[in-house]
Amino acid sequence: MVGPAMAPSWSRPVAAEPLTVRLVCATDSVQPGKPLRVGLYFQLARDWHIYWRNPGDSGEPPRVRWRLPAGFRAGALQWPAPERLGSGSVIDFGYRESVLLPVELQPPTTPLAPGSSITVSAEVSWLACKDVCLPGKAVLTLTLPVRRAPAAAPAAQALFRQADSRLPRPVPKAWRTEATAAGEFLVLTIRGAGAAKAAFFPFEPDQVDHAAAQTTTPIPGGLRLALRKSDQLATTPASLDGVLELDSGRSYALSVPVLARTNGAAPP
């Protein structure tokens, strides 16, 4: 569990049993007027996990509070597609082994002067669980020189490329998506995806029963996914938002308006 030593793109790792966490930058330096891509890089001990933005039935996702130089603004954490964790009646969503959560930092309107340097700090808190849970927190600090052009940072670049490949993609124009509320279920219909099986990971924790099996039914040109409603769901949501993972391993970010079906019949 060792990263490149003393490379400018990597903060000192904080080892907080059972994981190590670092603040990583995609480049070795910051360029005047350009956004800066950084990320929280977690490496976990075997069998431990941390949680996705919707942790599922238990747990909580990592949180970050940024301390940035004047004028910088941090975007939201980006979340690679999660794994389904747990078994039985308590199901969670998260990451094992390692994960990078990228973030884009917007620069100040007055460009920085080359030759100076900036310091970026992140106060991170998380919950790591195996069969037991250990909450943790760390302050990660990274100092970067300001340069007109970046030098190569191959290890960091590789890490961000891998994270990007796991980020959910936008829905292709060729797809036709539809969501309906039918009795105890929210039914998601996808046409044009060319997949036989799919799994849906909702962004909101209280919409879908995470532990219930998601039944996939093939239909002409596509598939239908039956998602049992959560017991916590008070009213039909206006839209179903989340990640659809296909059997190919690719994942997509969905936002599908939910139409009520009047006959209330359960899906086939």
């Binding site: 238990s58 747990g59 308590v90 669980c129 069969d131 909450p135 029963d209 219930a212 916590q232």
Partner: protein
């Protein structure tokens, strides 16, 4: 609807507004408790795992014990439930649990030992803590988190809105429960595999 040991009730058995699932379970003194015994009283169920950081937040601060004392003092029957399977975090023998209760000065009416997980599955308890409140007519009036601070950080206890205390105060005054459900937070209940 009574569920025998070993059967798993459908997950929608514990819906707010519906009759709370009936059960019988033994406590840490070997005494059997049936929900029907408490008809006419408010009953609070607290899913517990003494190793979970979220539970420890409430016990180390004295927050849970204070709530137990306040509510049992107002006639509420407080049943702590432990559904951890043997060998998993939170599992305790009756003797260990009784020693723990003394050590932390907890004040439940009783602690129900549910290592087979049948009571947990009956209510679909997901986390520790996970709280349920049943009214004197046997209707479930609350299902969810203990409060609005889903974090193990001890600093979050002060200033938290306690949904359990709030629901009971409202229901005892004959008012509707303003927050009847909330997302339960904590460690997953350690059921048998």
């Amino acid at each position: 609807m009574v569920v025998a040991a070993g059967l798993v009730a459908p997950a929608w058995a514990a819906r707010v507004g519906e009759p709370a699932p009936a059960f019988t379970a033994a406590d840490s003194n070997g005494v059997k408790h049936a929900l029907v015994d408490y008809a006419g009283k408010f009953v609070a169920l607290e899913w517990h795992n003494n190793g979970c950081p979220y539970v420890r937040k409430h016990y180390n601060s004295g927050n849970m014990q204070k709530l137990q004392k306040a509510l049992t003092g107002r006639g509420v029957v407080w049943l702590t439930v432990i559904s951890s399977a043997p060998g998993k975090q939170g599992y305790v023998t009756a003797a260990e649990e009784n020693a723990y209760l003394k050590q932390v000065d907890a004040a439940p009416t009783a602690v129900l030992l549910d290592p087979a997980g049948s009571l947990g599955h009956l209510y679909d308890a997901k986390t520790s803590p996970h709280m349920f409140i049943i009214n004197p007519s046997g209707t479930l009036i609350y299902n969810g988190a203990i409060d609005d601070q889903p974090t193990p950080d001890p600093a979050s206890v002060a200033g938290a809105t306690n949904f359990v205390g709030q629901a009971l105060t409202e229901a005892m005054a004959g008012k509707p429960v303003s927050v009847p459900t909330s997302r339960p937070y904590g460690c997953s209940v350690k059921y048998a595999d």
